[in-house]
Structures are given as C-alpha cells and as structure tokens.
Amino acid sequence: MTIKKIHTFWEDTAKVWLHEHLEMFRDEGALLFVILLPLAYPLLYSWIYNNEVVREVPVAVVDCSNSATSREFVRHVDASPDVMVAERCTSLEEATRLVGKHKVYGVVYLPTDFDTRLNRMEQAHVSVYCNMGLMLTYKAIFQTCTAVAADMNSGIQIRLSGNKTNREDELTTAPLSITDVPMFNNTSGYGNFILPAVLVLILQQILLLGIGITYGTSYEKNRFLRIRPMLDRRFGLARIMVGRTMGFLVLFMLIAAWVILAVPRLFHFVQLIHFGDFLLFTFPYLLACIFFAITFSFFVRRREDVMLLVVFTSVPFLFLSGISWPKSNVPELWHYVSWLIPSSFGIQGFVKLNTLGATFSDILPEIKGLWMQTVVYGVLASLVTYWQVKGSKQETE
C-alpha cells in the first residue's frame, strides 16, 4: 500500500516534470531565453571582454620644451604597452580639439622650462590631462606617466649622486625595494573581474525569464488546469512542487555546467573552482533561484510582461552583489535589499570560489544565505503554486 503510494507520488512528479518541460520546449519565446540565451550570451560577453586590458591608448603630446630630456620622456611613454603617442601638437588648445574628436584620450604637456628646471636642479612639472569619460583609459595614461616619471627620476638621481658602484646606485634609487603582487586576477583585467559575476547572474535572469514566460502563458491559457487533479491527492502540493523543481533543476544543472564551468575555460579566464565545490555551490543557488522565480511568476499575468519586469533589473542586481561597487561600501539600505536576491549571495560565493580560490568553508556565510533563501522562497513558491493550480479550476467552473 505504502509502496503503491510512493509509486503514484513519483509517477505524478514525473508527469509534472514532463508537463513543465513540454510547456517550455513548445514555446519559442521561452526556448529562446532558456536554451539559446545561456548558450550564446556567455560566449558573446567573453568575446567582448576577452582583451581584458586597454593597450595603446592614444594620447597627444604637447612638447614645448623640445629638449633631449622631454623627448626621452615622450619616447618612454610611447614605448609603454598601455599608451601610444598618436599626435604631436603645438598647443594645448589644438590637443583639446583632438580629445573632443576622440582621436586621443589624454594629453601630456611638457612646459617650456621642463629641461631648464631639471638642469637647474629644480622640480620640473609634467601635466597630464585625462578624458574622464572613460576610467580605464585614464588609468592607463596616468599609471604609464607615473611609471615613466619614476623611472627617469631614478636615472637623474643616479647621475647626481656620483656613486662608485652599481649597488650604491640601487641603494640611492630604492633604499627600500618594493614589490607589488596582484593576486588572483592574473591579467589584472576587466574580463576576469566582471565575467564570473555576469555568468552567475545570467543563470538567475534566465530562470526568471524562462519560468516567468512559461507560467505567464500557462496562466493566460489556463493550462495549470492539466495538473489540477494531482493537487487533491495526498501530498498533492508536494507532488507538483517536486516535479516542478526537479524539471528546472536538472535542466539548469546542465546549463550551469556550461555557463560557469565550460565558458571560462574556453576563453581562458581565471578558474580555480573544484568540481565538488561547484556542485555544492550550484545546488542551493539554483534551488534559491528556481523558488525565487516561481514566487516572482505570481506577478506575471501576461507572458509579455515578464520581459518588462525582468530585463532592466540585471544591472541593479549586479550592483547589489557588491562586485562592481565594493561590497564594503554598499549603502546599508541596499545591503539589506541585496539579501532578497539569490544572485547577491551567488555572485559573492562564486567569485570567491572561482577567482579568489577560496575553499568551500570560506563561503559558508553565502551558502547559509542561499539555503535560507531556498527555505523562504520555497514556502512562498509553494503558496504561489497552490494558488496557480487551485485558481485554475475556479475559472472553468
């Protein structure tokens, strides 16, 4: 008897599972978001960010000094990997026009007295003007000029101090030797920074869109009716919920493996995550996302509304996760709001596992957050499911 009950339980579960999949695969709109988008978007983003860093940013040089030293400065700037001297101008006005026309992104200005002052043993000034519309070109220009100035300063110091040995020169220019070690993000690049976060976010957004569209359609067409009979059986709601969840979970485990395991590997982004950790992380993350999406589908009464409700949220969600803007500096109110969204914990947890090479125990706070969301949204999702399926009968009566 019990065995038979268990048997029908699984039978129903499988029916729901199949039903949900058929609904989704029959619908081009949902298919586009659930299959095509996760296949294509990660590749597209990887392509966009694959160059990682900005090289050879064009700058204009206004060399009023026109001396051997000023020319050396310009040569060094040009020879650097990040900056390229694209234009030489005779005045700042001329150079500013080039910035307006986007021919160059910064101006290096060497005043008339540049070399004179150096020879007089006074401080000489080099002015660097950056177009602040782009932060990465500003960084490239500024850091290159700083490095060139520091390098030439060392040369001048060596000339002035009249040391006898190389060791003395070393001690003069660097009494304290300094090493900077960029950790984890091996290219110091933009792709390694943003891509893991975007990939994790994509999973949540396609679940929101996919489930929203499928259930929005079902709501419009009153298709929840087909699974209505199961609700009246023993553990009816559980039958439906397990079926629904399993359907999405299995499909999205595969999608997740592609999105967050295969794609970074294909494009050689940093990947320090272990397969075991991937499973332990993805399981609660997808569960939380699925229940979040089912809960959200309550607000969808027409399938088209989903896109209006979901699409614009992607970037705010990315910010809430504390990657674009450092987590320590997220305003308090928005920090609390971020607890409502699975991607906030998901992105933090994944970036730590994947990019920072943390162990699973290091991300326990995030995992706890995800499981808490799973429980809370699980309850809400069950209520929504009950309402959807129960409600479907009343309309036909």
Binding site: L37, L44, Y45, I48, N50, F73, R97, G100, H102, M121, E122, Q123, H125, V126, V128, Y129, C130, N131, M132, G133, L134, M135, L136, K139, T146, M152, I156, L171, P175, L176, I178, T179, D180, V181, P182, M183, F184, S188, N192, F193, E304, D305, L308, V311, F312, V315, P316, F319, I323, P326, S328, N329, P331, W334, Q348, V351, K352, L356, G357, A358
Partner: protein, 386 residues
C-alpha cells in the same frame, strides 16, 4: 490631423488601462535613477578594508601603517601574524589587499641593506583593487622616500633641494571634468539612460505588438483611414511625450538637483533628451517591423538593450574590444547617446564633433520608415497565433 489626435487619445486610453505602462514608464525609471545615484552617492569608495602583516613592528613600520590608515580609500582593519593568514582573509573577502613588512625591515633600512617590502592586492573586484593599489603604492613609496629625506636633511640640504633630488619630475594630474574622480558621475550618467532606453525599446515593441495580440490592429488601421503613417505617428505620440518627460526628469535630477558637471549646457541636454527618445522609439518600432510579432520583437529588444550596457563602452572601452565589435557598437543607440553626452555635455566640445553620432540617432529615429509597409501589412493580415 484630426485622425492623428483621435488615435493618440485612443493610445492614451490603452496606456491608462494597462498597469504595465505605469510601472515601466514611471516606477522603473524612478527606481533606477534613485537606485544608481544613491548606491554610489559616496562618489569614490572610501575606507575600504585592508590588512597589514607587520613582522618588524617598529616605529617606522607602525608610522607607515598609520599613514595607510589615514588615506582616503583605505582603512587598516586587521593585523595578521603571517602572509598565509592575510591571504586567507583576502579569499574570504574580509580585506582587499595588505602590506607586508618582513622581519628586520627597519634595521636593514638604517644599515642600507635594502630591505624588501611587498604589497598584495587583487583585481578580483576592479574598483576596490585599483584604489587600494594606489594607496598601498603611495605608502610604500613614501616609506622609501622618507629614509632618503631624513638622511639628506641630516646632511644639511634644504627641503627644496631634497624634493628636487627625490622627485625631479613631478606629474600634475588633471582629471578633466571630474576632478573628484567621482564614480557616481562616471557611471550613473551611463547606467540610468541605458536602463531608460532599454525600457523604451521594450515598451514600444510591447505597445505595437499588443495591437496584434488583442486583435485591435484592424481597428487602429481603420481609425487612421488606412494610412499607416498616421496610425504609427498617432500611436507613438503619447509614448514620445511621456518618455521625453521621463528622460527630461532624469536629466533635471542629475544635472539640476545633484549638480553633476554639465559644462556643455542645457541646450545640448534638451537636444539629447529629445533625440535619444525619438531614436529609441524608432528602434523599437523598427524591430517590431522586422519581426512583426509581439514576443520576438520584444525578445530582440531585450537582448539588444542588455548588450547595450557593454557595447556602450563606458566601463570597458570600445577601443579595447576586437575590431568587429568596434564596428558593431555603432548599431546600439546607447553608444551614440554616450558619445554625445561625454563630448558635448560632460565636456564642452562643439556639436560638430559628434555630428555623426547625431546623424546616427536621427537615422534610428527615422528607421520605421523602412518597415512601415511591413507593419501595415502585419496589422491588416496577421492573426495572432496561440
């Protein structure tokens, strides 16, 4: 003309009847504007947590630690007994970087035996990484210069002579237009308009497609007397009016209330407001014309809109992308919006510098002309499936 107004009135009634319009035209724009500007109100992240591994523990290293703590971007939140533990703290996300003084740093420094100091930081989060890097670099450079300075002043050099020796070439940095390096000014002015344009794309395709879904398209064509131009213009007029008000409100809020720099002046701001709304509506209609079905045109608009955030090239510059992408960036209206803003509002360059971008937006606005007959046919013949 009369027909135009009647269709516009009809559209207003349709908009009032569907709560999605209220949400997408009012609530979401207000939300994204408030969200991004309040999220980054700090301007530049301050006092981000960094650590110190001080195995030397002398007055010199402690002075440098205090100095690091006093910098704008960094706050020393913890001392770790070893590099290993500091590294683990970074992996947990407790700190964004740390400074490492090995044993006998000070002793070696005084004995001229060139001690070795290192600092560790991570670009796993780019903003915090860059700012913490700057502070760590400055503090270690100052540590190096401090020794030389005390030696030289002991020898009787004047301060000017010391500075001229330690730093013969000085860099004067001019961050033109954004002297505070304020990230709110840098990012919000891209993120909010991109969200708005995305919503315009979507809602335009939505409004066009709903005529098919609700089987009211023939009614619209009849009201326009069979003239597709009147039908389209009349239908879009209320949308354009509302969006211009919404986009204008965003502009007034950021440039008028929050006083983001706008040396280009209000003339260009008004021009860009009107032009970008027209271009976005035009784009939405064009996409619907290409794929005259509600869901497909909306799907394409959302994919386009989301990609805009990357292809606009504010965060990751377009010049750093592969060449095909540099070309493709031009088919995103947001890219032109950003270039016009950056060139003629954020900086005060003449409009002739962005003539091509203005032309591109005009082209987007005029794009429906190419598909108007397709739309007309779809409205007359198409039967909504399912």
């Amino acid at each position: 003309m009369k027909r135009l107004l009647l269709i516009a009135q009809r559209e207003c009634r349709r908009m009032a009847a569907n709560r999605m319009y209220l949400l997408s035209m009012l609530l979401f724009p207000v939300f994204v504007t408030v969200f991004f500007t309040s999220f980054m109100h700090e301007g530049q992240p301050e006092n981000m947590p960094v650590g110190v591994v001080d195995l030397d523990n002398t007055t010199t290293t402690r002075k440098l630690t205090r100095l690091l703590d006093s910098f704008q971007s960094s706050e020393v939140v913890a001392h770790y007994p070893s590099v290993e533990e500091a590294r683990q703290a970074m992996q947990r996300g407790d700190i964004y970087g740390f400074l490492y003084f090995p044993k006998e740093t000070t002793a070696k420094l005084l004995a001229q035996r060139q001690p070795h100091v290192s600092y560790y930081y991570s670009y796993a989060t780019l903003t915090s990484g860059a700012l913490v890097f700057k502070d760590l670099k400055t503090v270690s450079t100052l540590g190096s210069a401090g020794v030389a300075k005390s030696v030289m002043s002991a020898k009787g050099y004047t301060d000017d002579q010391i500075m001229a020796f330690l730093q013969p070439i000085v860099l004067d940095l001019h961050t033109v237009g954004n002297p505070w390096v304020n990230y709110n000014i840098y990012l919000s002015t891209m993120l909010v308009p991109t969200c708005l344009l995305l919503l315009i794309f979507l809602l335009t395709a939505y409004a066009m497609g709903m005529e098919l879904k609700e089987n009211t398209a023939t009614e619209l064509v009849a009201a326009a007397g069979g003239n597709p131009f009147i039908a389209l213009v009349g239908k879009m007029l209320p949308h354009i009016a509302v969006w211009i008000v919404v986009m204008g409100a965003y502009m007034v809020y950021t440039f008028g209330v929050l006083h983001f720099p706008h040396p280009g002046g209000w003339g260009v701001i008004v021009l860009l407001t009107v032009l970008s709304v027209l271009a976005a509506v035009g784009f939405g209609v064009f996409m619907f014309g290409l794929l005259p079905a509600l869901r497909m045109s909306m799907s394409i608009c959302s994919l386009w809109g989301v990609l805009s955030f990357s292809m606009v090239g504010t965060a990751f510059p377009v010049i750093a992308m592969d060449t095909p992408l540099q070309v493709l960036a031009n088919i995103f209206p947001m890219r032109h919006f950003f270039l016009i803003y950056e060139t003629c509002i954020f900086a005060n360059n003449p409009l002739s510098d962005v003539a091509l971008n203005i032309a591109a937006l005009v082209l987007f606005a005029a794009a429906p002309v190419f598909v108007i007959l397709r739309i007309n046919r779809a409205y007359k013949e198409y039967v909504y499936m399912e």
